[in-house]
Amino acid sequence: MSPSLDSYVLLSAALFAIGFLGVLVRRNTLVIYMCLELMLVASTLALVAFSRFNGTEAGDVFVFFILTVAAAEVAVGLAIIVALFRARQTVQVDELDLLKK
C-alpha cells in the first residue's frame, strides 16, 4: 500500500511546524539555522508530493530553484555565523545583546 497525498502533506506540515517552533524556542544559532533549513525542506517535500499526485509539472521545476536558493543561503549564513563566532566567541542568542538598549 502506497502512502496517500494526505500523509505526505501532514508529514511536511509537521516538519514545518517543528522547524518553526525550533526557530522560536532554541537558543543556539546553529540549531536555529538547522531549523530554518528544515522549514525549506518541508516545503520541498510538500511541493514534490503535490506535483506528483496532482500531475502538474511546475512544482518539480520549482524544487530545483529552492535547492539552489537554499544552498546560497547556507553559504552566506554559515559565513556570517563563523565571522560572528570569531568576533564574540559565542553563538548563543542570549549573549548577543550589543544592540539592545
Binding site: 530554518l36 522549514m39 525549506l40 502538474t56 511546475a58 530553484f65 556570517i80 560572528l84 568576533a87 544592540l99
Partner: protein, 501 residues
C-alpha cells in the same frame, strides 16, 4: 513535455524586454573585472565608474519610458507603466546608495568594489521582483535580493555590532522566506487538486491562481496559504507584528545598507503586496483586507510610540520607517475598493525615497568610524557648523513628518484621500493620531540641529560637518532637498497620473 514544445517556449523569451536589468548585471560584472585588471591606486575610481554607469542606464531608461512589451518570458514577467516607474525608483535608490557607500566605505578596511557589485545585483533583482507575475519568479528574485542583503548588512565584518545585526537579519529573513514558500506551496497544491472546481495546472501564475480562488471562495487550505504568504511579505516591509528585527538591524548595518533596506527593500515588498492584493488574491478580499487593516493600525501606532523614546538616530529612522509602512498599508488596504489608491502607494514611495535619502545622506557625512553610535545629541548646533547639511536634514525630516510644502505632505494627503474614499474611517483616525505623534520626534531632531545653543558634542563631528559632503554627494543632496520642495508644490504628470487612476 516534448522538446519542440520547449523550443516554442524558449522562442517566447524576449530578452530585450529586460535590458535595464541585464545592463545592471553586466555593469556589476564589469566592476569585478576592472578590479582585477586595474592597478590598486586607481581602485577608488571604480566606485565613480559604477555611479556613472548607473546614471547612464537611468538616462537611457528615462529617454524612452514607454515599453513596447506587455508580457515577456511566457507570462513570468509583466511590463507596465508602474513597472517602468519602479525601475526608475530602484535605479535612483541604487545610485544614492552607491554615493553613500563612496562617502563612507573608506573609513573601514573592507573591499569597496564588491560592495558596489552586490548593490547593483540586488537592485536588478528588485526590478525583476516587482515585475514578476509568477510565484517561481517571485521567490527566486526575492531570494536574490535577500541573500545579497545578508552580505551587505554584515559587511563591516570586524565589527561585532554589524555581525550581530547581520545574524538577526539572516534568521528573520530566512524565517520569512520559509513562511512565504510554504504559503506558495499550499496554494499551488490546493489549486492543482483534481477534486475542486476550477482546477489549474499552472497555479504558480497569478492570473491562474486568481481564477481558481474565484471558483473556491472559502477554501481553508487556500486561506492558510494566503495568510502565510502575507506574513512572509509583512516581514520584508516591517509591518506589525513582524517588525521586531527592524531597530536592531537598522542600527547595526552600515548606513548605506540601512538606506537600501529602508527605501528599496521596503518599496519592493510593497509593490509585491500590491500585485498580490490587487491580482492574485483579489477573490479573497474578505480575508486579506481585515488582516491588512489590523496590521496597518498596529504598525502605525507601534512605530510612532516606540520611536518617541529613541535617542539613536538609526533606530529612530528605523521605527519611523515602520510607521511609514503603516501609512502605505493604509493605501494598500483601500486598493480593492478605490483603484486610485495604487497611485497613492507609488507616489508615497517616491516621496519616501526623496526624504529618506536626504536624511541618510546627512547621517553618512556625520557618522564616524563606528556608525552604529549616532545620537540625536550629536546633531546639536549643526546649523552653525554647516548650514547646507542642516538645511538638507530639515527638508528630509520635514518631508518625513508630512509638513507642507514638502513632498511627504502630498504623499500622506493622497493616501488619506484614498482611505477616506474607501471608507476606512477608523483607520484614518489612527493614522492622523500617528502623524501628530511623529511630528514630536521629528521636531526633536530638527530642534537639536537648529535651536540648540550648546556646542557640538564632539570636535570630531564638528570637523566632519565643516568638511561637508564630497562634491558628487553634495550635488545629489541638494537635488533631493530641492525636489522635496518642488514636488511638494507641483506634482505635475506624477500627480495627474495618480489622481487619474
Amino acid at each position: 513535455m516534448d522538446p519542440s514544445n520547449l523550443q516554442e517556449l524558449a522562442a517566447g523569451n524576449t530578452w530585450t524586454a529586460i535590458w535595464p536589468e541585464l545592463s545592471l548585471g553586466c555593469l556589476a560584472l564589469l566592476l569585478l573585472v576592472l578590479e582585477t585588471l586595474l592597478p590598486r591606486f586607481i581602485h577608488g575610481k571604480i566606485q565613480t565608474f559604477s555611479i556613472a554607469g548607473q546614471v547612464f542606464i537611468l538616462a537611457a531608461l528615462l529617454l524612452d519610458l514607454h515599453t513596447p512589451y506587455h508580457e515577456s518570458f511566457n507570462g513570468l514577467l509583466v511590463q507596465s507603466s508602474a513597472g517602468q516607474a519602479m525601475r526608475v525608483f530602484f535605479l535612483l535608490s541604487s545610485i544614492m546608495v552607491s554615493l553613500l557607500a563612496r562617502a563612507s566605505l573608506w573609513k573601514h578596511r573592507v573591499s569597496k568594489v564588491e560592495f558596489h557589485h552586490i548593490v547593483l545585483v540586488v537592485s536588478a533583482a528588485m526590478m525583476l521582483l516587482v515585475q514578476s507575475r509568477n510565484f517561481v519568479m517571485l521567490f527566486v528574485s526575492l531570494e536574490t535580493v535577500t541573500v545579497g542583503l545578508y552580505i551587505l548588512v554584515s559587511y563591516y565584518r570586524s565589527s561585532a555590532r554589524t555581525l550581530e545585526a547581520g545574524l538577526k537579519y539572516l534568521v528573520m529573513g530566512s524565517l520569512s522566506s520559509g513562511l512565504l514558500l510554504f504559503g506558495i506551496v499550499l496554494l499551488y497544491g490546493v489549486a492543482g487538486s483534481a477534486s475542486l472546481p476550477g482546477r489549474s495546472s499552472d497555479a504558480m501564475q497569478y492570473d491562474e491562481l486568481a481564477r481558481f480562488l474565484a471558483a473556491n471562495p472559502h477554501n481553508f487550505l487556500a486561506a492558510a496559504g494566503i495568510a502565510l504568504v502575507l506574513s512572509g511579505v509583512a516581514f520584508k516591509i516591517g509591518a506589525f507584528p513582524f517588525q521586531i528585527w527592524i531597530p536592531d538591524v537598522y542600527q547595526g548595518a552600515p548606513t548605506p545598507v540601512t538606506a537600501l533596506l529602508a527605501v528599496a527593500s521596503k518599496a519592493a515588498g510593497f509593490v509585491v503586496l500590491l500585485g498580490l492584493v490587487g491580482e492574485a488574491f483579489a477573490p479573497y478580499a474578505w480575508l486579506v483586507v481585515p488582516i491588512l487593516t489590523f496590521m496597518a493600525a498596529a504598525t502605525i501606532l507601534f512605530g510612532n510610540l516606540a520611536a518617541l523614546k529613541q535617542h539613536n538616530v538609526k533606530r529612530l529612522i528605523g521605527l519611523s520607517g515602520v510607521s511609514h509602512a503603516g501609512f502605505i498599508l493604509l493605501a494598500v488596504v483601500s486598493v480593492p475598493r478605490v483603484p486610485m489608491a495604487v497611485g497613492a502607494v507609488y507616489f508615497y514611495l517616491f516621496a519616501y525615497l526623496i526624504a529618506s535619502f536626504a536624511v541618510f545622506g546627512v547621517m553618512t557625512v556625520l557618522a564616524g568610524h563606528d556608525d552604529s553610535e549616532q545620537e540625536i545629541g550629536d546633531y546639536s548646533g549643526l546649523s552653525r557648523e554647516s548650514p547646507f547639511l542642516a538645511g538638507v536634514l530639515a527638508c528630509g525630516l520635514g518631508s518625513l513628518a508630512g509638513i507642507p510644502p514638502f513632498v511627504g505632505f502630498m504623499g500622506k494627503l493622497f493616501v488619506f484621500v484614498a482611505a477616506f474614499k474607501a471608507g476606512h474611517y477608523g483607520l484614518l483616525l489612527v493614522a492622523i493620531a500617528g502623524v501628530v505623534i511623529s511630528i514630536y520626534y521629528y521636531f526633536g531632531w530638527i530642534r537639536a540641529a537648529y535651536f540648540n545653543d550648546e556646542p557640538l558634542a564632539s570636535p570630531e563631528i564638528a570637523r566632519r560637518a565643516r568638511d561637508g559632503a564630497g562634491r558628487l554627494l553634495a550635488i545629489a543632496l541638494a537635488a533631493l532637498a530641492a525636489s522635496s520642495i518642488v514636488f511638494g508644490l507641483y506634482q505635475g504628470p506624477l500627480g495627474a497620473w495618480v489622481s487619474l487612476r
